[in-house]
């Protein structure tokens, strides 16, 4: 009896595994109904790393896709594939999307860089757009948003609202983008309150709500009274709400998750870029390059500012926003010191994008060391 039962069990496990793979595998959904009567619709595809319901990163990209559809109507047809893993599988998805007649394909996570490069090398008639990457090809360009501008504006609010002069950031992964955001948050706070200290705790994940909660709690325990996060969930804001302290929404408007704690949300809006890129491709104006959009292009904003924020502080934030929009306000302008006292940007000097892309230090006032740094 035993061997046969074991073999049956093996089969069962194998079947379950196959079924699970099919289940977990990428779910493809067509949003616009396929209309054979209009074969001339320009086909645009999106590959997402997470589920569209993550409430953060992928959610924001999918909202932008919807805005793109609304803007261009039936001139285009969009498709998205969610939960595409970073790595070799992604290349298959890109080739598949291209074979279905999509001539513009967006990949919305850093880890698609190599798969997209490979697919782009073979599929010369398809235009590829890669979010947050740094490698380009003649038919592959990159785009990103200046999230640090949102962090800076949030910092202005945080600096004005704190009573303990201690701010806290729950960091995800110590890459230059996140370090730049923590620094910008601190610089924003210092612009209204020079005595600010920022504490940092890393959770080493983009999305792990229980861990984000624990990290937030530990910051609150150490006297932090305004929290910010560079992670993808609303857990940190909710921890602030529970403790009766302040928090900041990130990526999308999180006001509803912590109505009392929420000071404002620093949001990224990808729609303007998606609309421009699609129009470029449709009109034959598409050329390779690197786009890094911020407040000026409408890609970054600070929204839902709380009624608890005094009018004069609100006015300061609005002034900064206006300055970022017309280019009169520059965040990364010397003199800037790192937190060991070394001058990293000389007086009057303005940091260029390459310099900003390589930030691996904390500015003065950040009470932490960059993991792995000296």
């Amino acid at each position: 009896m035993r061997p046969s039962r074991t073999s049956l069990l093996c089969k069962l496990v194998a079947c379950t595994a196959v079924a699970a793979t099919a289940f977990i595998g990428c779910d493809k959904k067509k949003e616009a109904p396929a209309e054979p009567a209009k074969p001339q619709a320009f086909k645009v595809a999106f590959a997402y790393v997470g589920p569209v319901g993550d409430g953060g990163w992928t959610f924001a990209h999918d909202n932008a896709r919807k805005a793109l559809e609304k803007e261009l109507g039936d001139k285009i047809q969009t498709t998205f594939v969610e939960k595409v893993p970073e790595g070799a599988d992604a290349e298959r998805v890109f080739r598949d999307l291209a074979s279905q007649g999509n001539t513009l394909i967006f990949g919305t996570t850093f880890g698609y860089m190599e798969p997209m490069l490979k697919a782009a090398a073979d599929l010369k008639n398809v235009k590829f757009e890669h979010a947050t990457g740094y490698k380009t090809a003649e038919n592959l360009r990159t785009y990103d948003s200046r999230t640090y501008e949102g962090a800076y504006m949030a910092g202005v609010l945080a600096g004005g609202m704190t009573k303990t002069n201690t701010l806290g950031v729950v960091g995800s992964i110590p890459i230059p983008e996140v370090i730049r955001n923590i620094n910008s948050f601190t610089l924003g706070a210092q612009s209204v309150n020079p005595r600010i200290k920022t504490k940092v705790v890393w959770v080493n994940a983009w999305f792990d709500p229980p861990k984000e909660t624990e990290a937030a709690q530990s910051l609150l325990n150490q006297g932090v009274d305004v929290l910010m996060q560079n992670t993808d969930s609303s857990a940190v804001l909710q921890a602030a709400e529970k403790a009766g302290k302040y928090g900041i929404g990130w990526d999308s408007d999180m006001h509803a998750y912590g109505p009392k704690a929420h000071l404002a949300s620093a949001v990224a809006n990808w729609a303007p870029y998606y609309i421009k890129a699609t129009k470029d491709a449709m009109e034959g104006k598409w050329t390779t390059g690197k786009a890094w959009w911020g407040v000026k292009e409408g890609a970054i904003d600070l929204v839902s500012i709380s009624d608890k924020v005094p009018a004069d502080l609100k006015a300061k934030v609005e002034k900064v926003k206006a300055g970022l929009k017309d280019g009169s306000h520059v965040i990364w302008q010397g003199p800037i010191q790192d937190n060991t006292g070394k001058e990293v940007l000389a007086k009057g000097k303005v940091a260029d994008d390459e310099w900003l892309g390589g930030i691996k230090f904390f500015v003065k006032g950040v009470d932490a060391k960059v993991p792995g740094g000296k």
């Binding site: 940092v200 229980p210 909660t213 990290a215 530990s218 325990n221 006297g223 609303s234 857990a235 993991p371």
Partner: protein
């Protein structure tokens, strides 16, 4: 000082999820059944608890739904492994995979939902004591319930007749059967109770601890709870201690980072798992120690004769 009191409070809170699930799995294993589905059960219960909390606006209903979900899933596992004698390890793993997948699928609509204002508790009088008040007496009732449960389960296992029968079944189901005890039904009762406690732990996670729902939010706590039963050598009191120890390490890693202590956070992140492995190795080196408490029939199928 205040910061350490808050740290102690956070540790108690963090350990509660592990303690509830660990105590549930302890009852399971004392009856001789291993439930590797804990992670999946906790995820399903976290989802059920959160969804119920959103619709009814009541945390209590959320806890009940989580517990019920845990009980139902555990009953399914129980039927498969106790009556059909399916392999306990494979069935448990299947349940774990199913729970992770199905909760993610069913929960899609709930990732944007939120619960009402979270309650704040403190024990009048006691919470005013310096240090101790902050550290111990401002917790959610579930934190105290976990401690009370450990006491009740210890009493049940070692001081009550039913507990003796349960342990006897875990040690030697054939003898218990010969004495006329309904082995299968008692095992099922233990599995269902254990599942309900895992469910309660899952619901506490999504309703109180991190009040939101996202797929995979249990993130390994079910597996730590399973390791905890071995870590605690199947003793309720040690389960509680182990849970707070693991909870403490989790909180300490963030506390040290905030204090600017330069230990790579990746190292600290792995500490709870390292501690589990270390203890497993230690107690496995001493067969007498592990055998003294490990239910002898653990993981083995039982075929009643006649």
């Amino acid at each position: 000082m205040e910061s350490w009191a808050l740290q102690a409070a956070a540790t108690l809170n963090a350990g509660t999820v592990l303690a509830l699930a660990g105590l549930g799995l302890l009852i399971n294993e004392r009856a001789g059944i291993v439930n590797l589905g804990a992670e999946g059960i906790m995820l399903m219960a976290a989802f059920a608890g959160f969804a119920t909390g959103v619709h009814t606006g009541s945390d209590l209903m959320g806890f009940l739904a989580g517990g019920a979900m845990g009980a139902v899933l555990a009953a399914t596992l129980g039927y498969l492994v106790i009556w059909l004698n399916a392999n306990q390890y494979a069935t448990g793993l299947a349940l774990s995979l199913f729970g992770s997948g199905f909760s993610a699928f069913a929960g899609i609509k709930y990732t944007q939902e939120k619960l009402g204002p979270r309650p704040h508790f403190e024990i009048p009088g006691l919470s005013k004591i310096p240090f101790l008040g902050t550290a111990l007496f401002k917790q959610h009732p579930m934190v105290y319930l976990a401690i009370a449960l450990a006491v009740v389960i210890a009493w049940f296992l070692y001081r009550s007749r039913s507990g003796l029968v349960l342990r006897a079944i875990g040690e030697n189901p054939e003898s218990a059967h010969a004495l006329g005890y309904p082995v299968r039904r008692i095992r099922l009762a233990a599995v269902v109770t254990g599942g309900a406690l895992c469910g309660l732990a899952g619901a506490y996670l999504s309703v109180i601890y991190t009040p939101l729902w996202v797929e995979g939010m249990v993130s390994g706590k079910g597996w730590i709870a399973l390791a905890l039963t071995t870590f605690a050598t199947w003793r309720p009191g040690r389960i509680l201690l182990g849970a707070y120890l693991f909870g403490g390490v989790t909180m300490l890693q963030f506390h040290l980072q905030g204090q600017g202590v330069q230990i790579p956070s990746q190292f600290l992140t792995m500490l709870p798992y390292l501690a589990t492995i270390a203890v497993l190795v230690l107690i496995s080196r001493n067969p007498a120690w592990i055998r003294a408490n490990m239910p002898a029939s653990l993981g083995k199928a039982f075929f009643p004769e006649g």
